[in-house]
């Protein structure tokens, strides 16, 4: 009889109940909140549901020594986590993104690439502010990349620069990407005049298949020579795009853009969530991170719009750019392009800006990968 009671007591020590603290419970609630936001509000559900559930998994109280925690070597979660920790999941996602992205809007209007560059000012604005708020340069760099509005890039950079902040940075990035219509619209309206919103852009020219094939090859060589530390992301992005456009690797492109990216998305979300621990997440610094993330989105949007207005000073009448596509440099693809379309239609119901806005949108993907590369080079 005593043996049974002893065993039961031992068993109790193993359970989550015995090892539970209020921090664990709070994080589990936070995980449930993100799952709910993903399912009910449809905020980037493909990422927030895995991240949210991962937070729940990672914060179930476990008895150390059971070899299940994500930070215990050789546990299942730990092995899956290596893709994040060593930074190879994000490049694989970029492979899929490249394989599903159509860059022809950009190829036909190359000047719109510069909008993608301007929007990355959000990253550096947030970097400077983070430094002022007391973050170390490597942490500030990781926080700044939220403004790139690119989930894999944010996870990639923060895993290398500030892994303990990665959870907060990732949920911040995806949450604000979901909120892009809410954040960007007022800024776009504030910074543009009625006349500017009515600008009609020239219909872009047709892009030949040959151009679409040469684009990723030349694009990669150029960017990789300038920013070699961006090699993993840029290489995968352009490789995926080449698979799509070559015409002879359709199966590979379909797999990259389909099953492969789905597998990696599930694992990256889950393990990023599971790596988010209470002691880092529940702190005043997380609130600062969320605030800085929002500011970086605001700066990025404003920078994109204002840069278009600046470019228009040099454009002939009839060849001007509608500043409402400036926000699309914030590379939440295609959400910010959709915002351009919506705001454009409000001003003029027959002025469809969506395809024009896709050019800075995809340029922003390249821009944020370049920015991440350069930050990694300096701060890594």
């Amino acid at each position: 009889m005593e043996n049974i009671i002893d065993s039961l007591q031992q068993f109790w020590q193993f359970t989550g109940f015995a090892n539970c603290t209020w921090q664990h419970l709070l994080m589990i609630v936070i995980g449930i909140v993100f799952v709910t936001l993903g399912i009910v509000k449809k905020w980037e559900p493909m990422l927030l549901v895995p991240i949210g559930f991962g937070i729940i998994i990672g914060n179930i109280p476990v008895f150390t020594g059971l070899q299940v925690s994500i930070y215990e070597e050789n546990s299942v979660l730990n092995i899956l986590y290596q893709g994040v920790r060593q930074g190879w999941y994000p490049p694989l996602i970029f492979l899929g993104i490249g394989a599903m992205t159509d860059f022809s809007a950009l190829i036909s209007q190359p000047r719109l690439i510069l909008i993608g560059a301007a929007a990355q000012l959000g990253i550096f604005g947030a970097y400077l502010l983070s430094l002022q708020m007391g973050f170390l340069p490597n942490e500030a760099g990781a926080i700044g990349i939220i403004g790139g509005a690119d989930g894999p890039t944010a996870i990639f950079l923060s895993s290398k620069l500030a892994p303990e902040l990665m959870g907060a940075i990732a949920v911040c990035a995806y949450s604000y990407m979901a909120l892009v219509p809410v954040i960007q619209k007022p800024i776009m309206k504030l910074l543009t005049t009625k006349k500017e919103r009515l600008i009609r852009m020239n219909k872009p020219r047709e892009v030949s298949q040959r151009e679409k094939i040469i684009f990723p090859i030349i694009g990669f060589i150029c960017t990789a020579f300038i920013v070699p530390s961006g090699l993993p992301l840029l290489g995968m992005l352009f490789f995926g795009n080449l698979l799509k456009e070559s015409g002879v690797t359709k199966r590979l492109a379909n797999t990259a853009a389909g099953p492969m990216i789905d597998v990696v998305t599930m694992l990256i979300g889950l393990t990023v969530g599971a790596s988010t621990q209470a002691d880092v997440f529940i702190s005043p610094r997380s609130i600062l991170i969320f605030l800085l993330g929002l500011i970086s989105f605001v700066i990025a949007t404003a920078a994109g719009v204002l840069f278009v207005k600046f470019m228009n000073l040099f454009c002939k009448e009839g060849n001007k750019i509608n500043p409402l596509i400036g926000n699309a440099g914030v590379s939440a693809v295609p959400d910010s392009a959709r915002v351009s379309e919506m705001v454009g239609l409000e001003a003029d119901p027959s002025n469809h800006l969506l395809m024009h806005a896709m050019a800075p949108n995809v340029a922003g993907v390249i821009g944020s990968a370049v920015a991440a590369g350069i930050l990694l080079g300096f701060l890594g």
Binding site: E206, C222, S350, H352
Partner: protein, 184 residues
């Protein structure tokens, strides 16, 4: 060289040498812009060598409308050849007359004067066709729904008239400028 110095510095040392982060920020911004400027140059060159003819330039007088504020919709009247209508005061989306000139294979602006050809303003997929040949339609009436970038766009008629032909069915993938329906 300053850049090289920064590159060999760890983050903690960086805090000492560049406490405000301004040097790093400036260099980074210059690099990002420089990189993308180079891409711009390369792709422009590529386009010049390999690309096809540019599409027609929008003429300035067609760009900005004389704003007819009828007070109800705030919708702008676009004055182009053959079309002087306002969109309905429901604020519905009207099809651009420009789209009638859309496809590069159509070579004249006459196609807007022929009137009645509703074309697609965006590439996308038809997810609904709301009219049949022989139906009488009014200006602003929905002809079809086009899905582009996961957004549903109503394609509306800018004419009163009778549908003489419908060129699409549900599931068709369209390019910008492809015909959807003719209305006489």
């Amino acid at each position: 060289m300053m850049t090289f110095h920064l590159l060999t510095t760890g983050a903690d040392k960086m805090a000492a040498t560049d406490p405000n982060g301004l040097t790093l920020t400036t260099v980074c911004i210059l690099v990002v812009f420089g990189c993308l400027l180079i891409l711009y140059g390369v792709y422009s060159l590529l386009g010049a060598i390999l690309g096809r003819q540019k599409a027609d330039t929008v003429k300035p007088q067609e760009n900005i409308a004389e704003k007819k504020d009828d007070g109800t919709s705030g919708v702008i009247t676009i004055r182009t050849a053959g079309w002087s209508g306002n969109a309905q005061s429901t604020g519905a989306t009207a099809l651009s007359a420009d789209a009638g000139t859309g496809s590069e294979t159509k070579d004249s602006t006459e196609s807007t004067r022929k009137g009645g050809t509703v074309t697609s303003p965006l590439p996308g997929m038809i997810i609904e066709v709301a009219v049949h040949a022989g139906d009488h339609v009014q200006r602003g009436q929905r002809i079809a729904v086009l899905e582009a970038m996961k957004m549903e766009n109503d394609i509306l008629s800018e004419f009163d008239g009778t549908v003489t032909a419908v060129y699409v069915t549900k599931g068709n993938t369209l390019k910008e400028g492809d015909r959807i329906a003719s209305i006489e």
